[in-house]
């Protein structure tokens, strides 16, 4: 037998959609290997249908957090057996391919075990593709299975049938499903069509003698060659070998004992039926057991899916060697395919109104205690009523869980006496979010999980650039990047300006982009909520790129290189992005979001332009009306700039605050602190200490206010510190001490260019003095003092 790599098939084309069916299911392996491989091909629509056993396994793998977000998992409960097919369907606009095999979505099924499959496509196997279409169509309406993926199965069935109709068939492969008739009956029928059976050879990990005898009887053969694998997977007790059958002969199939194959535990299920006019080879999910072979149609137990290949060359058969029957297995497996279940399963969805769910397995009680597990921590939600398996948990019960997020993994557990049911809570709105976020979604989720890399930051910069409408969304706060190998930017350096804070002209370039738009309604609400959470995460994200100081893994070098490449691109694109965002700022919500975005980029990538960008944000703030939150945020920015400057000047910082209408003596809200900036701009500095120093500093504007208050109270302030140093203080003091002189002193909020009393323009020299020093002397009406810079 030849070797086939499913991962290579995935890598061979740009697929759009992938659907898998499996019995057992390792979510961690699937995420690490399959989802990883599919993401490389740009597949974002991934669906897995699994038996409840696999669903329960996924519930146990709590570190697999992408279920319900980056791929969907639907449990399919076969009423009288198990959901056992192992299928992969890959769809693209121009191609549909499938593999039908024996391997589950587990490490064993894809790596460790000896598994077999048949590759099906419409270019020569249209009938088989059509059979797959029928299988999913039947599954969509099957009363023998309980599941919530009926619409999905129906649509997939229709697409597969359409693909088959457009294809061609060479008459060699069909797909058999137990949903129609028992597999054994279909084999007998096919053998009859090929002139009748002459031999029967089987390799299977699990057996029961009755099934073998009945299959041989149906085919009309007197003996069965049964493969004895050199390495076995654990089987249920007494099911590792058909010892009770009198017609079985132990053999070793030569094509299953090659150097590599012999080391892998046999999990493949293959049957060769030698016929008069050729041979049939069946492979797939069905074990050599009664549940696998003998039941089907209305009486189906296990849902099985196999391929039947017709080889019309006469006389060809597998070669084998007679061997001894294997000893009984020391280690037995209690489950695979035929066992009962312990814990029931449920499916649930989280929408605006709360959580709505349904128990798919047997359930008797009318109410149950509910526990929600959010990011691995249990939360007691009290009691819920259950009717016909359905239940709902109103939003009020979840109020304390405002963090019930789209990015995390949520499980529910219902308990009533001995009845227990568990399942995932999915977010149906996530589809809309996926389509709105597009390629930026993984990067947004990475930020929410605190796992962003410079490549993610780069992707998010592009997203923000092309979706400036998100600037108007208030975050929820209480109170491929490098493949193109773009060259690193290498701008010319004017050495005379290095370290001077000046730059050469012409580097800033304006950018352009489309503004986003959205429809009203539920999807829009979900999107805005998602963006709000994203902005909140952006506001607090810390560098996720790990310190590699004890890095021992060579593979990490490439990661570092990619991060460095992305950081280079970031430096190049950041000025353009800032320019574009700055042009959007016309209110303080946008200003704060720009500050959050710039903070996020600078802190997570340690961009050297941080200081100058922060200064520019403060300049933007001068032109808009600031609310309390915005003033607090700008206060923090001023403190960071003061702490990071070459010479700490508390008075200057205080002056900047006054200029923006910020009360420097009031401590700003820590929630608006834009964390991380100070660590980067002024390592080791405590921002609170800086704020205290600013609060302790006195500016000339403080003195102006003190003087104004004192004069109004008919007093003279005794503790002026800045005004007395001013060059015209003696003259001002003289006026203050005389009642008539007091009338020649004007107080204004900000520097003016004309006298407020007579509207005569102040000479330029004096206007400049007022702007730069806080007071001047107007010849018309005396002194003008400004309360703010």
């Amino acid at each position: 037998m030849k070797i086939f790599s499913q991962l290579d098939l995935i890598a061979a084309h740009k697929w759009r959609r992938a659907t898998f069916t499996t019995y057992s299911f390792s979510a961690s392996f699937t995420e690490a290997v399959l989802v990883e491989a599919l993401l490389r091909q740009g597949v974002s629509d991934i669906t897995i249908l699994t038996d409840p056993l696999g669903y329960r396994m996924a519930l146990k793998e709590r570190g697999a957090v992408r279920i319900g977000r980056e791929y969907a998992v639907h449990p399919v409960a076969a009423r009288a057996g198990c959901f056992h097919p192992k299928l992969m369907v890959l769809e693209a606009d121009d191609a549909t391919h499938a593999t039908v095999g024996s391997g589950n979505l587990t490490f064993g099924g894809w790596s460790a075990n000896l598994e077999c499959l048949v590759h099906v496509h419409a270019n020569g196997m249209a009938l088989a593709m059509g059979d797959l279409g029928k299988f999913f169509t039947a599954l969509a309406t099957a009363q023998t299975c309980e599941h919530d993926a009926r619409a999905l199965c129906g649509e997939l069935g229709a697409r597969l049938s359409a693909s088959a109709a457009a294809g061609r068939d060479e008459g060699s492969v069909r797909v058999l499903s137990s949903m129609e008739t028992p597999i054994a009956e279909q084999l007998a029928s096919a053998a009859k069509a090929l002139g009748g059976a002459r031999s029967l050879t089987i390799a299977s990990p699990y057996w029961d003698a009755a099934a073998i005898d009945k299959l041989a009887d149906a085919l009309g053969v007197g003996g069965v060659e049964a493969h004895v694998p050199r390495t076995r997977v654990p089987a249920p007790k007494d099911m590792d070998w058909p010892r009770r059958s009198a017609i079985v002969r132990p053999v070793e199939l030569n094509n299953l004992v090659g150097q590599d194959e012999a080391k892998r535990g046999l999990h493949a299920k293959i049957i060769e039926i030698g016929c008069v006019d050729g041979r049939l080879i069946m492979s797939g999910s069905a074990n050599a057991t009664s549940a696998g072979l003998l039941y089907g149609g209305a009486g189906v137990r296990n849902v099985e899916l196999c391929t039947l290949r017709v080889d019309r060359r006469v006389g060809h058969r597998w070669k084998f060697t007679a061997v001894k029957a294997p000893p009984k297995q020391a280690v037995c497996l209690e489950e695979d395919g035929d066992s009962a279940t312990d814990t029931g399963i449920l499916v649930a969805a989280h929408t605006d109104g709360g959580i709505y769910g349904r128990i798919l397995t047997r359930w008797r009680a009318e109410q149950a205690a509910v526990t929600m597990e959010l990011n691995r921590r249990p939360i007691d939600l009290g009691t819920v009523a259950i009717k016909d398996g359905h239940f709902s948990i109103p939003m009020e019960e979840l109020d304390q869980q405002a963090e019930l997020s789209l990015e995390g993994r949520i499980q529910l557990r219902l308990v009533s006496g001995e009845d227990v049911a568990e399942g995932f809570v999915i977010a149906p709105d996530f589809g809309a979010i996926k389509s709105r976020a597009g390629k930026a979604l993984p990067s947004m989720l990475a930020v929410m999980r605190g796992m962003q890399t410079p490549e993610h930051v780069l992707a998010l910069m592009e997203f923000v650039r092309t979706n400036p409408h998100i600037l108007n969304i208030e975050p929820v706060i209480a109170t491929r990047g490098t493949g193109s190998q773009q060259e690193r930017p290498d701008p010319l350096v004017d050495a005379a300006r290095v370290g001077t804070g000046q730059r050469g002209g012409g580097e800033d370039r304006g950018g352009s982009g489309d503004s986003g738009s959205g429809d009203a309604g539920k999807e829009e609400r979900a999107w805005r909520q998602f963006v709000a959470r994203f902005l909140r995460s952006m506001a607090t994200a810390t560098p996720a790129a790990e310190d590699d100081e004890d890095e021992a893994d060579r593979s990490e070098r490439a990661r570092r290189q990619r991060a460095a490449d992305a950081a280079d691109k970031l430096s190049l694109r950041l000025p353009e992005l800032f320019q574009k965002l700055a042009a959007q700022v016309d209110n303080d919500v946008k200003l704060m979001n720009v500050a959050r975005i710039i903070r996020f980029i600078c802190v997570t990538t340690e961009d050297p332009a941080t200081e100058s960008l922060l200064s520019r944000i403060l300049r933007l703030a001068e032109d808009i009306e600031l609310g309390g939150d915005a003033r607090d945020m700008m206060a923090w920015c001023i403190a960071y700039l003061a702490a990071g400057g070459s010479e700490f000047d508390a008075a200057k910082a205080r002056g900047r605050m006054l200029k923006l209408g910020i009360d420097p003596d009031r401590s700003p809200d820590y929630q608006l602190a834009l964390p991380g900036l100070v660590d980067f701009m002024a390592p080791g500095t405590d921002a609170l200490d800086t704020l205290k120093a600013i609060q302790a500093a006195r500016t000339i504007y403080d003195d102006v206010r003190a003087l104004e208050a004192a004069l109004e109270a008919g007093q003279f302030p005794g503790s002026l510190t800045a005004l007395p140093l001013h060059e015209i203080w003696p003259q001002l003091l003289d006026q203050c001490q005389r009642e008539a002189g007091k009338r020649r002193i004007q107080f204004v909020d900000h520097p003016v260019k004309a006298c407020r009393r007579c509207n005569i323009a102040i000479p330029d020299e004096e206007a400049n003095r007022l702007r730069s020093t806080g007071l001047c002397e107007a010849r018309c009406h005396g002194f003008i003092l400004t309360r703010n810079p």
Binding site: A12, A37, T106, A446, R449, D550
Partner: protein, 494 residues
């Protein structure tokens, strides 16, 4: 090589039988298997901010700072506007010349990052030719890896000590920070005889011979520091230019040294000694140091148990229940004992987190004693006063407080229940989360496939994805103490 879809179609049409599935393979790799490390780094930043475990010598700091001053000065003098890469190239030449020169001294084992690369490239050569295409490619390749200025070498220290500043207007361009002139002038005076060489004056191609490099060894020897360099470093470690936390960290270190005998000034002696100092003046750094070591113990204990689990599972599968039972066989609780008192008894066997870590390494892989030792290393920090917890907000990295909250919730359950929770949530789920997350990030970036996932669930229980199994006893992440001691010794602080 990946086949095309048409080739796959042809292969399947021609087939006369089914295929055998090729095992899904990927390059193996992955460090920090539970994703806990970043919190440890965060805590180290509270004691020795700006330090790492590589940048242990003062002279490279001086050299790189001076090299940047030199390249900017030369450009100013000639009135040239040069690309950033030209300045980087100039600095790289001086760095490589320095490393190569140091390597000429057979009597000293030079401890400099990038020395292997320099040695493998020019170890047997009689000269280095700067400025050709090979050199340019080399500079580009080493920028983020073996360069002294790279983020994993002296880069963070240069920035944190404010020896070099980034010019925000010219990304990638650096200039000397405040209060560096005296140090740089002195260094320049020291190497004045070298400055005649084209390496320090020109940007075009130039050659450095082995003989010349060897003759420079004594001039810029790393051990022969100038008083100005020492003073500049002292200022930045414990003086006026040291931020509060770094100053506190070095005060703690120097106090510990003062209390030790001269023979006990090694890293191994000072680490626990710094835990034992009780003085209100150094209470803050002492608390931070305790948090570092508590977290180190917690992380090492968990990673050690993770490796033990992998070894225990071996080539088969094992359920959570079985793993918990195997652990309990090695640490049997008393009749009816619940998880909390059982853990308290285990934690009582460890005097300090440093001792807990030492014991853990000494007991690996002794099956009988290893499990209780590892559990003690985990329990000690978890049961310690909350002020000693890491207090991290990085929930996905399992802060101690989160683990302690779990224990509060399930502490009255049986030890078996606690162990099951720990195995599934603190070990395997953490491992899965980080392994998968990093893999998917690689996928999105189109990077090489690396299989980091080492444990998966099969119907029969947990299974190891790699034949080689355990990697052996994990090492605690270096806590920068070695660097702190080295720098403090070089600048005569201790």
């Amino acid at each position: 090589m990946t086949s095309s879809l048409a080739e796959f179609e042809q292969l399947s049409r021609k087939a006369k039988s089914c295929f055998i599935v090729k095992p899904a393979g990927a390059g193996l790799g992955g460090v920090d298997p539970l994703g806990l490390r970043q919190i440890n780094f965060d805590l180290m930043n509270d004691v020795f901010p700006g330090l790492n475990n590589v940048a242990r010598y003062i002279r490279p700091f001086t050299l790189v700072t001076w090299a940047w001053r030199r390249t900017i000065a030369l450009a100013r003098k000639s009135g040239e506007a040069l690309p950033v890469s030209s300045h980087e190239d100039f600095v790289a030449r001086i760095e490589v010349a320095f490393v190569w020169s140091m390597l000429q001294n057979d009597e000293v084992d030079v401890d400099l990052p990038g020395k292997q690369v320099v040695w493998s490239r020019w170890g047997a050569e009689d000269k280095i030719l700067f400025g050709d295409a090979d050199w340019t490619a080399f500079v580009k390749a080493r920028r983020n890896s073996t360069a002294l200025t790279a983020a994993i070498n002296y880069g963070p220290g240069l920035r944190a000590f404010r020896l070099l500043e980034d010019d925000s207007n010219y990304a990638g361009t650096r200039f000397p920070g405040e209060a560096t002139a005296e140090m740089l002038d002195a260094f320049e005076a020291r190497i004045k005889p070298l400055l005649r060489h084209a390496l320090f004056r020109e940007r075009g191609p130039c050659t450095l011979t082995r003989k010349t490099a060897k003759s420079w060894t004594a001039t810029w020897d790393m051990e022969d520091l100038l008083e100005e360099e020492k003073r500049a470093m002292r200022e930045r470690l414990m003086g006026a230019r040291a931020p509060t936390k770094r100053r506190g960290g070095f005060e703690l270190l120097t106090r510990a040294v003062d209390d030790q005998h001269e023979a006990d000034e090694g890293e191994g002696e000072l680490r626990p000694a710094m835990l034992e100092l009780e003085d209100a003046k150094i209470a803050e750094p002492a608390l931070h140091w305790k948090r570092v070591q508590m977290r180190q113990s917690f992380r090492l204990g968990l990673e050690a148990l993770f490796e033990w689990i992998i070894a225990e599972i071996g080539g088969g599968t094992m359920t959570t229940e079985a793993l918990a039972a195997h652990m309990l066989e090695r640490t049997p609780p008393e009749e009816g004992q619940t998880a909390r008192p059982w853990l308290e008894a285990l934690a009582a066997t460890a005097v300090s987190p440093v001792e807990a870590m030492d014991a853990l390494q000494a007991n690996f892989p002794n099956g009988a004693t290893f499990v209780p030792t590892a559990l003690a290393a985990i329990a000690l920090p978890m049961l310690a006063n909350a002020s000693l917890h890491d207090r991290s907000e990085r929930r996905e990295r399992l802060p101690i407080a989160l683990a302690a909250a779990d224990l509060d919730r399930i502490g009255n359950d049986s030890p078996r229940q606690f162990l099951k929770h720990m195995i599934e949530n603190w070990l395997i789920a953490q491992h899965t989360y980080w392994s998968v997350g990093r893999g998917l990030a690689d996928a999105r970036a189109g990077a090489k496939k690396i299989m980091r996932l080492r444990l998966v669930l099969e119907p029969g229980g947990w299974r190891v994805t790699r034949g080689r199994g355990t990697r052996g006893m994990p090492r605690p992440t270096p806590d920068r103490l070695r660097t702190a001691i080295s720098l403090a010794q070089q600048c005569d602080l201790i």
